[in-house]
């Protein structure tokens, strides 16, 4: 039955690209390594053969110039997806992403929008150290004019990539390499996961756990474990970091009165800090306990796997945070 077809996360992205490039002649893929499994694995497979080198453009290592070109093409009416196989290298492209793409629609009085997808892959772990592992979604979410999505499942990866390509605004699409081999039921045709909408992965009554991307998977493991301890956790997978699904999160907090946020980024001025601030501004009277953030420490990613094990939060880290809050007074 095709309705139960399972697909890998990376292949779900691949299918989104195939479908959208076939549906829209303005859509194209550009970036370093789109023609090489070394960079994006199987996420770009078959595209070059099917759509040709005019629309599947492997590039030299020139992140600033190439990302700017994708922005310019979008201004000129195309629907580019520009890929950064390691998000760390995207920092070279901060000017076209922030100064140009994010501001263009506003500073030109709505005359031209920039329908671009900036796809950045987080490559955590593997002893790759500080410049191959960074999760920078919060930096982009800080900037007005950028949308930021972080799908945690294959279904969402496909639906959000399609929605991002169709969106008239710049969308930063962040996936985590640790998710690429996960599988999910994925419908075959074109469908969208609405940008700005989170989802309740599991309903609960004792505590609200908000997570994104890979941390949503660790959170689900924690929720299952905690259920055995008679702790009922409501797990929200944000899916979109900007714009935040504020209503979904606030409604859950009003119900449970407790909040833990699990984010794969750093702590200071991060996504977890933003959600925490939102909760205290808008749901303070419903909180029965302080808010707890589970994030990376304010420390660059280490190489040694002993240090890595201490660096990355796990289901157990999250479960401990939940237990602590549930036991609060």
């Amino acid at each position: 039955m095709s309705s139960n077809r399972k697909l890998q996360y990376s292949l779900a992205i691949n299918e989104a690209l195939h479908l959208m490039m076939a549906a829209d002649p303005a859509a194209f893929l550009i970036g370093q390594g789109v023609n090489s499994p070394w960079y994006v694995g199987n996420a770009a497979q078959g595209l070059l053969e099917r759509f040709g080198e005019k629309r599947v453009i492997d590039t030299p290592v020139s992140e600033n110039g190439i990302t700017g070109a994708a922005v310019g093409a979008a201004i000129a009416g195309m629907r580019p997806v520009v890929v950064h196989p390691r998000m760390d290298f995207m920092l070279y492209a901060m000017d076209p992403i922030i100064n140009e793409a994010a501001n263009w629609y506003y500073m030109n009085g709505g005359k031209v929008s920039v329908p671009i997808v900036i796809w950045g892959i987080v490559n955590r772990g593997g002893e790759q150290a500080a410049q191959h592992s960074q999760a920078l979604h919060a930096m982009f979410a800080h900037v007005p004019g950028l949308k930021v999505v972080m799908p945690s499942t294959a279904y969402d990866a496909k639906g959000l990539m399609i929605a991002a390509i169709k969106d008239p605004n710049p969308v930063v699409f962040v996936d985590d390499r640790w998710l690429h081999r996960t599988e999910d039921v994925v419908p075959e045709g074109i469908y969208e996961v609405e940008i700005g909408k989170g989802i309740i992965r599991k309903e609960g009554k004792d505590l609200t756990l908000v997570a994104t991307s890979y941390m949503a998977h660790e959170s689900m493991k924690a929720v299952d474990e905690l259920a055995g301890e008679d702790i009922s956790v409501e797990l929200i997978d944000l899916r979109t970091v900007k714009p935040l699904d504020r209503d979904l999160v606030l409604e859950s907090i009003r119900k449970t009165g407790r909040l833990v946020i699990a984010d794969g980024g750093w702590k200071t001025c991060g996504l977890a800090a933003e959600i925490s601030a939102m909760a205290s501004e808008e749901a303070y009277e419903h909180l029965k306990a302080p808010i707890k953030r589970v994030t990376l420490p304010d420390c660059p990613a280490p190489a040694s796997d002993t240090l890595e094990a201490a660096y990355y939060p796990t289901a157990e880290t999250i479960a401990q945070a939940v237990r602590k809050l549930v036991a609060w007074r």
């Binding site: 194209f28 550009i30 005019k54 629309r55 453009i57 590039t59 030299p60 020139s62 600033n64 110039g65 190439i66 990302t67 700017g68 070109a69 994708a70 922005v71 310019g72 093409a73 979008a74 201004i75 000129a76 009416g77 195309m78 580019p80 000017d95 076209p96 100064n99 140009e100 263009w104 629609y105 506003y106 500073m107 030109n108 009085g109 709505g110 005359k111 031209v112 929008s113 007005p144 004019g145 949308k147 008239p168 605004n169």
Partner: protein, 325 residues
């Protein structure tokens, strides 16, 4: 090269419109009626006029911080420009952009931005779009000598040449990157040679000679349309005003930058006076026709200011409109 009378008149009209518009802003800036930073284009008119005359309406241009001239030469509306500078809702960017963010997609003016070298890659993207669609458009990026200090220029020279994109790099070398003389910025001062390592036809021309600019620009655009790849043109020119605002940055004043003799020598090479002299001495166009063009430009400028002064500012309640489409 022989040029039609209408083309010659067009060059003159384009330059005179830009000069009249720019000089009309001097007093409002000094009186603080205009508050947004204006980088006036007076003195450099031949570059915008010559290059834009080599383009069709559907061709793309991207500007920089000093782009009133590019916008006007591409055929965009002067009233919307002046209204934008005054911060009005009727401005080309609805008062959200000011002098440094000028746009008119219908005329191929896809935007301008003051991040030095920031729109070079955007123009490359527009050229890439034209190349993917095969629609025969050409994209032009206008940038200054200061932009040759930015790495992204070299990324774009390489990629545009590699993919034979229909793109013309126009470097307006006015010899100063804000306050810094180009000779103090660069170890090698033949700017046009930056295109050579990328196997790109590269030229250095007199940017105050509108015919030279047009002829070189036309050759570059023709080459792009034939799919033969990008061209780099350094146009040597000079701004008659300050880096920003009317102040002309002459040594001895509070923004002490340029030697008096240097400024005077460039005033002798005023692109409009030179072209007028050429037209009259070769009996190509009569003085009364040039006078009429000048008169019409002044009237257009007066209309633009009246329009701007009678236009409302944006409503405070619309502050956050246009963040997302």
């Amino acid at each position: 090269m022989e040029h039609s009378r209408s083309l010659l008149e067009g060059f003159y009209r384009a330059m005179v419109r830009i000069r009249a518009c720019e000089e009309s802003l001097v007093e409002p800036i000094q009186d603080r009626d205009v508050r947004c930073p204006c980088h006036l284009y007076s003195g450099q008119e031949a570059v915008a006029a010559g290059i834009c005359a080599a383009l069709d309406d559907q061709d793309y241009i991207f500007g920089n911080h000093r782009s009133h001239g590019h916008y006007l030469a591409k055929g965009c509306d002067m009233s919307e420009l002046v209204a934008e500078i005054y911060g009005c809702e009727a401005g080309c960017s609805l008062g959200r952009g000011g002098s440094m963010h000028l746009i008119d997609p219908q005329k191929g003016m896809l935007g301008a931005a003051p991040i030095v070298a920031g729109t070079i890659s955007l123009a490359m993207g527009a050229a890439l779009a034209a190349s993917i669609r095969g629609d025969n458009r050409v994209a032009v990026t206008f940038f200054g000598d200061g932009a040759t200090g930015e790495g992204v220029l070299y990324e774009c020279l390489n990629f545009a040449a590699l993919k034979k994109l229909p793109m013309v790099f126009i470097c307006e070398n006015n010899f100063y990157a804000t306050h810094m003389p180009v000779r103090e910025c660069r170890v090698e001062n033949s700017i046009y040679r930056v295109g050579e390592p990328f196997c790109m036809p590269s030229y250095s021309i007199d940017g105050n000679d509108v015919l030279s600019v047009y002829e070189t620009g036309k050759m570059a655009v023709d080459r792009c349309r034939k799919g033969e790849g990008p061209v780099f043109i350094e146009c040597q020119t000079y701004r008659f005003r300050g880096h920003v605002g009317p102040d002309d940055n002459i040594q001895g004043c509070h923004t002490d930058i340029r030697p008096r003799e240097e400024v005077d020598s460039w005033l002798q090479k005023d692109p409009i006076k030179r072209f007028e002299h050429y037209l009259l001495s070769n009996k190509l166009i009569e003085k009364r026709v040039l006078d009429t063009i000048e008169q019409e430009a002044q009237e257009e400028v007066a209309r633009a200011h009246r329009f701007a002064k009678s236009s409302p500012h944006p409503d405070r309640k619309d502050l956050c409109a246009y963040v997302f489409k």
